[in-house]
Amino acid sequence: MLQLRGVYKAFGPVQALTAVDLTAEAGEVTALVGDNGAGKSTLIKCIGGTYTVDAGDILIDGEPVVVRDPRDAAALGIEIVYQDLALCENLDIVENMFLGRERRNRLGTLDENTMERLARQALASLSVRTVHSVRQLVASLSGGQRQTVAIAKSVLWKSRVVILDEPTAALGVAQTEQVLDLVRRLADQGVAVVLVSHNMNDVLRVADSVAVLYLGRMAAQVRRRDVTQTQIVELITAGRSGALGLSPAESTGATV
């Protein structure tokens, strides 16, 4: 479904991604893991058009596509929850959730009532119980509430690919459950889901395939059932685990 081939990205002197390959099949959850600063968010921003890649291809259904800005990604049916959320603090929850895709009524004006109703339902489905009103400004929300808004925003739309960058980082126990459920449900509906997480329990619970980034290189992409938690952790921290992963030269010499 979604495929990356040989993606490179540098920020000035910093080489953030080096020859990264990745495959995310439709109907599967692909976990993308890696140490802090491994390049996960950078990779996702490249897919989403927030950054443009220096080299390499992005393929959807085998076809190379050009993603120059986030509109292109949206047009291709790629929906992303970013780690840094990117909500407009001066807008309220409803306004943020429908930003860029506002509903309009017959007259072409904003259909606030429908949007408000849908926003409430979406939030409720994610077990958010402490939001006082969907007309609250995002500036007044707690960290977890914001994250929920960002997630709710992304699942409102029919997409072919849904990418979630550490979606449960700030969430409580119940909310995390809901989101993991949601991820599974999305995959079951045929969506290609990419999930970034540092929580190995979560990863092992929902992932079908696990991709490990190490210092900007793809150490390995393996099926969930073929690996143990220990192996994944080794891949994350050292770039290789037994036969899996980068060659010794790459994983040590490659000072980024």
Binding site: T50, R135, L186
Partner: protein, 422 residues
């Protein structure tokens, strides 16, 4: 929808208050919490008006109220346009001289090329929009900071106006022209009342329709009593204003004098239309929503699929277009276009008006009403100051007092707003 939301109840979402008492309580709580809306600007306006009414006999005469309105109109219109730019956290230093230039283009077309007045007006407006598009392009595409772009055009347009008008210092508009009528003739009395009725009815219809829609959608809505109070307030203020504008404003009367100065200036109509249109765009359209979004967080807006550069270009076009309208109104007021039209403090005062009204210079916060209230504050100050101090050095003292009053108005505003979140 990928998620199945239908079977989920709206559990635990606290219902917004629906009764009148609830509504009032929650309004007061919001006030205490610092969400003051336009209250500080209104309070400031009332206070300085009261002060001038005391120190300045005849300040609230029908004659002076009319003078105030027609003097305020160009400032308000320019501030309305600037709010679009300010919402994005940008600045347009050249709005004043753009207005002057567009008015000059109009005047020259009218007088030297015999173009009909309406065509001249269209040309002025078109020039404004084209100028705005160009500046917006420089900002959005070439990525020059808007301060520098508009500083450059501020200077350049002054030059162009000067060249156009030439050495006489000003071009006088043809005296019978409807252009002059804008600020100097009056809507017939009956039409004024009809206009008021239309405005009040429209306002009521929108409010009632909104509330009904929300009830239908099962959402908490403004209680009817509150709507009634709001509509009544608008109606009373409007009626008072229409009544005052209906008084004959000719101060000296004698046997020769036939014509009475009474009725609402046409420019009031223009203000009402521009305000309604601007308010509609900002609060009820996707475009308006996107303005707030880009001003609040440009990167988030981009990720949400908004074409930020297009929004940037558009606000400059709107601002310059409105500046052209403002320039036309100013030309109508002075019945002529000066070679230094729109230079000097024109722009600073208009931006000051928007800021005093409550618009933020950092983007993301502002409403049309800010331009109206802030513009009135500025106009009241300039009008109240003119002729307040006499004689030697009066110019200097008036500057000083103008600055002091401006500061007082803003300080009042700030103190009332204190403790508010932003």
């Amino acid at each position: 929808m990928t998620t199945q939301l239908d079977d989920l109840v709206e559990h635990d979402e606290p219902q917004a208050p629906a009764g009148l008492g609830d509504y009032t309580r929650s309004y007061l709580a919001r006030l205490r919490g610092g969400q003051l809306g336009s209250l500080p600007a209104i309070a400031g306006l009332v206070v300085i008006t009261a002060v001038f009414a005391v120190v300045h006999q005849g300040f609230l005469s029908a004659y002076n109220i009319e003078a105030l309105v027609i003097q305020a109109a160009p400032i308000i219109i320019m501030a309305m346009g600037l709010i679009f730019v300010l919402l994005l956290g940008e600045i347009d230093l050249s709005a004043g001289t753009t207005g002057g230039l567009c008015a000059a283009i109009m005047a020259v077309l009218l007088l030297r090329h015999g173009v009909p007045w309406w065509l001249g007006m269209v040309a002025a407006l078109a020039s404004g929009v084209v100028i705005g598009l160009a500046m917006g392009w420089l900002r959005a595409r070439v990525k020059i900071p808007s301060f520098v772009i508009t500083l450059a055009t501020f200077l350049a347009f002054q030059g162009v106006t000067l060249i156009l008008i030439g050495g006489q210092g000003s071009v006088i508009l043809p005296s019978g022209s409807p252009l002059i009528g804008l600020e100097n003739s009056f809507v017939p009395m009956w039409a004024g009342w009809v206009l008021l009725a239309v405005v009040v009815a429209g306002y009521a219809a929108v409010k009632i329709n909104d509330a009904a829609g929300r009830r239908r959608a099962g959402l908490p809505a403004t209680p009817t009593a509150i709507i009634a109070v709001k509509v009544l307030t608008v109606a009373i203020l409007g009626a008072f204003f229409t009544y005052v504008m209906g008084l004959n404003r000719n101060l000296t009367t004698n046997a020769f004098f036939a014509n009475k100065a009474e009725g609402m200036p046409w420019v009031v109509l223009l203000l009402v239309v521009l305000f309604a249109a601007g308010h509609f765009v900002l609060s009820r359209t996707r475009y308006g929503r996107h303005l707030y979004a880009v001003g609040g967080n440009a990167e988030a807006s981009r990720r949400a699929g908004i074409v930020v550069s297009r929004v940037r270009v558009s606000v400059f076009a709107i601002c310059s277009g409105m500046a052209a309208v403002s320039g036309i109104a100013a030309a109508s007021l002075l019945q002529s276009v000066q070679s230094n039209a729109g230079a000097g403090n024109t722009l600073l005062l208009a931006v000051g008006a928007a800021v005093i009204g409550g618009t933020s210079l950092f983007g993301g916060r502002g409403h049309m009403i800010d331009a109206v209230l802030g513009g009135l504050v500025v106009a009241v100050i300039t009008n109240g100051m003119s002729d307040l101090i006499q004689g030697s050095n009066s110019a200097g003292f008036e500057w000083v007092v103008t600055g002091a009053v401006l500061l007082l108005a803003a300080g009042f505003d700030a103190v009332v707003r204190r403790g508010s979140p932003t």
